[in-house]
Amino acid sequence: MELRKNLAISDTGFVFDAATGESFSLNPIGLEILNYLKNGLKDEEIRQKVLDKYDVDESTFDLVYFDFIRTLQHFDLFEKS
């Protein structure tokens, strides 16, 4: 899945979708993951980075990451495949 090109992501966790005019806010981990996605990292690479950096077990991360991705899909932030 590729993040849409026309998303403007600020360093403070503010996202602006130039196509729809909608804006979003992210918490710091959400911002970090969105930036990984923007840079083209694969799910497994993102998973490893977060597991290395944060105090979280694999199953908890998988659960919340899956939910986060589904929320991004719901907000239509990925390119249509």
Binding site: F24, N27, L34, V50, Y54, T60, D67, F68, L72, F75
Partner: protein, 447 residues
Amino acid sequence: MKLPFERPLIKKIEAGIPSKFGMKPTLKPIDNIDGVPVSDLIEKYGSPLYVLSEQTIRETYREAKQAFETRYPKVQFAWSYKTNYLNAVCKIFHQEGSWAEVVSGMEYDKALQNGVKGSQIIFNGPSKSREDLVKAIDNDSLIHIDHFDELFLVLELAQTSAKKPKVAIRVNMDTGIYPKWDRFGFNYENGEAWEALNRIMLSGKLELVGLHTHIGTYIMTPDAYRVAATKLADLAYNVERKFKHNVRYIDMGGGFASKNTLKGAYHTGIDTSPTFEEYAEAISGALISSNLNPDQLPVLILETGRALIDDAGYILGTVIANKRLSDGRRSLIVDVGVNLLFTSFWYEHEIYPAKGETQFTEDTTIYGPLCMNIDVIRAAIDFPVLKQGDQFVIKRVGAYNTTQWMQFIHNRPAIVLIDENGESHIVREHETLDTLLENERLPEHLK
């Protein structure tokens, strides 16, 4: 050393009506009740769990009492059993000096068992049986007559009773508020109440001891009490003038609002509910400025329930699951259902996480654990994203929830009282399957 993990979140920024109160406050967790950690209580007694604060009960009662006693010379509270009739709660109010106000034979017997003198039990309500009334007459209790059928029954019982029944009438009236309650008692405006008083006085068989009203519930307008007290004082004055009889008390009932927020309210209950002082000022002012003889002012009785106990009650609970709804909204499934939180049908209950402080919240629907669509604790609340197993606290649940609760799908949980020294005591055990089966009987052919 790894960094603490927080669930990744993205939230759409919605353009809507701006809050005139500015920045959204951070939801401070409630991690203890009267100094006892929430996690310890759940570990010891299970989840969900009702918790009552004895300190809050006593402080609230004393605050209300002071508000009235500094404005009126003779004040008596009567604890409204239906609001919360756990013996531990009733005993605290009785220790503080409250009489009992009951509305059924069951509540009446409970008050007697709690050591309340018969003459300090006010028997209200529309459904007193003949047996209830006989018992109340024998015990010199204060019978508040609701309708003419009851009045005639009491008159009949008085014929054969060794004691003269002590009675009051409940009066309903227009106090300028909506809804106008007229299903209980005798109406003031159409003359029914005056007629009932005349029948009582002319019968010679009953002792008219008081006048009672209860104008509604969650009354946000203290002035309605001023109107009600004025009308009762007028009735008392008319009785005094016509029959040379002074009623001993005027009972203003209950109906004071607690600090909970009603559904659909724009402002929170904390900001808008009147204080005890405001209610006291309205009622006392009306009685003192009435035509009643100042040397024989009646005792002012108050049956306040909700406003005295709501703040002392908490429900502690645990998150069962997070779930996304089809429209992308977050939902939380928790182990507290509407069967334990009846008041969630009319309040936007305050819910707080038991730990962790975050400014990242999401619009969330909080569902209870029942497999029933109506089991919604909060339809929409800006709430931190809790994970499975996280604990939370629901505030201001002391009124009505443990009397109107239902055994439904799950066993009802334990109720714990935290005393003034911070010690926790079970005041009602967690139900088990045996509790459910105790009164069931299986016919022989089905065994």
